[in-house]
Symmetry: C2
Subunit: 338 residues, 2 copies
């Protein structure tokens, strides 16, 4: 028998293998493995969300790229983003930290300060955790609960033909920021101020809790947070909903700083905007009538229509300026294929 | 400024430093950092428990000591034990695994089989998780929710003068089992069958969910699971409750196999029974009248009175056969001082 490794089956392949038989009391589980967060019913009429994310040094972050405060902030932010992507409100967190021997207490304190800062902003209590030692590399695991009214929860699986596909904010900033961090001394490059904003987007992403809740209120039919790049997230929605999504290349919102970055590194701007990941913006689908109402009620929200749901799938198509269409593969960031 | 490290402040010292400012909405939190599990109120009249534990290869387990199935079983068992120690019922889990590149998918599958086996026994759904890569050592983080009726939750802080101190099962089995695993080829030693039971107690501990719930129903005033040894857990109860606990050395329940192990390795049997840890039995306090009722209703339960709450503290005293008393320090297993 050939031995399969994580590398050969990939992260999603592994998850599919593992998730079989995980639900023992289906009547209490609204959605299990396979969405941004899980949802369960602690009592009739009540729905709790639960999500967890682990960040491992060298794999998910380089310690010399960021302060401990930023690392703490980001560890919590990526979990809050998962709750936001369900239309929920983040509530209570437990934090496990595996600490290598050379790390100081001050470092861990500063990391916690970063977590507490974002927790205070979003009303999240850190109510428990585990601190353990580890030989080499720092690892942080945050688990976060959230709350959502049962009729408001937004899964990946509800996109319907005719819905618009909407994204929040700008895409590619975080990936472009990482490119500059990898490059090294970006402070000496031209346009350091704009680059600084990109680096900030990578190191200290802002979860879109408010927009997530508003999208849910205004009848979003599906939603994902953009952790692995729009291409990957759009494919997840397409797959879970059994629909085709058609995205307009020209409509993808990209900042001038990302365009500048693409020029500097001689890359396609879409490498950052579609495949970069770690933006923690949201992508959701919604009937156009609801979108009109949402925009009228909240004109301040940074929403961009990037395409629409065109029919049965699952598939995601990208249309370029010339009207040519190509299949958009979910080749976003995959931890195991790197 | 001298740099403090985890080694100098210890795990509990670090937790005390970190827990400041973690509660943002105190009206929703019944108990935060510092008990076996946290308890929060998702809705009036409802109480949810939340606990998390991380196991790191080389620190918490040696991969060649146990099968993947046992590792999965134990990873979940230690979390279920935390819920049991609050008088709760375990409900929903999320699992993060950091996987080094050399590990096979079959290994992870078997690990999940072990988790699913214990989850099926206790009605726990695995509803989410995160799978990431890590350079060297396997790390597993399980977060588990639980449910408890608000008036039944048992914290560490409720022990009162006159209460009896009760433990479940036998103590020291897991520590003695680890001694044999460290020793090596225990299968060739005399009494391999008895040793096998000890090794099993270490590799595949059984959480005491039913007794935890019954103790809560019959008015236990405080409770801990014995993960770090009875000395450590008793001191935690004494500290949280502000009482003195007086334990009878002779009363501590020890199996013949542990006595045999102590003889073989020329150790004091109390090294295993009081300071060994990882038994995942329960220690609780309860008025004697309630204990009488509990025993009458459930004579089958393996309960042993090991002492009583004698007054204000915090302190734990150990009385030997000669009636001599000594202060029992909480020198249980401490990951950072190890």
């Amino acid at each position: 028998m050939t031995v399969r490794t994580i590398k050969t089956v990939g992260e999603f392949g592994l998850i599919n293998i593992l998730k079989e038989g995980t639900i023992v009391t289906p009547e209490t589980v609204r959605t299990g493995i396979g969405d941004d967060a899980a949802a369960y019913c602690p009592a009739p009429g009540s729905l709790q969300l639960l999500t967890t994310d682990m960040l491992v040094e060298t794999i998910h972050f380089k310690r010399h790229y960021m302060t401990a405060w930023q690392l703490g902030y980001k560890s919590m932010a990526v979990n809050i983003s998962d709750i936001a992507a369900m239309g929920g409100a983040p509530r209570h967190a437990v934090v496990s930290i595996a600490i290598p021997p050379q790390i100081s207490v001050e470092y861990i304190q500063e990391l916690y300060q970063g977590m507490k800062a974002i927790c205070h902003r979003y009303g999240v209590n850190i109510i428990g955790g585990d601190t353990v030692s580890i030989p080499d590399y720092l690892a942080i695991n945050v688990t976060l609960t959230g709350e959502v009214t049962p009729e408001r929860i937004v899964l990946r699986s509800g996109a319907r033909e005719g819905d618009k596909v909407i994204v929040t904010g700008m895409l590619g900033d975080a990936a472009a920021g990482l490119a500059w961090l990898d490059y090294g001394d970006w402070r000496k490059a031209g346009g350091a101020e704009r680059i600084s904003a990109l680096v900030q987007a990578h190191l200290q992403p802002e979860p879109q809790v408010q927009i997530g809740q508003l999208a849910a209120c205004f009848g979003a039919t599906s939603m994902n947070d953009i952790s692995d790049g729009l291409a990957s997230e759009a494919n997840e929605i397409a797959k879970a909903s059994g629909v085709a999504l058609c995205l307009q290349q020209e409509a993808v919102p990209v900042s001038p700083a990302v365009e500048m970055t693409a020029g500097f590194f001689n890359r396609d701007v879409l490498d950052y905007a579609l495949f970069g990941g770690e933006d923690y913006q949201l992508v959701f689908t919604m009937p156009v009538a609801n979108l009109t109402k949402l925009r009228a009620a909240h004109p301040e929200l940074p929403l961009t229509v990037v395409g629409e749901v065109t029919g049965t799938g699952p598939a995601v198509y990208l249309l370029n300026r010339q009207g040519e269409s190509q299949l958009l593969e979910p080749r976003g960031y995959n931890h195991f294929r790197g």
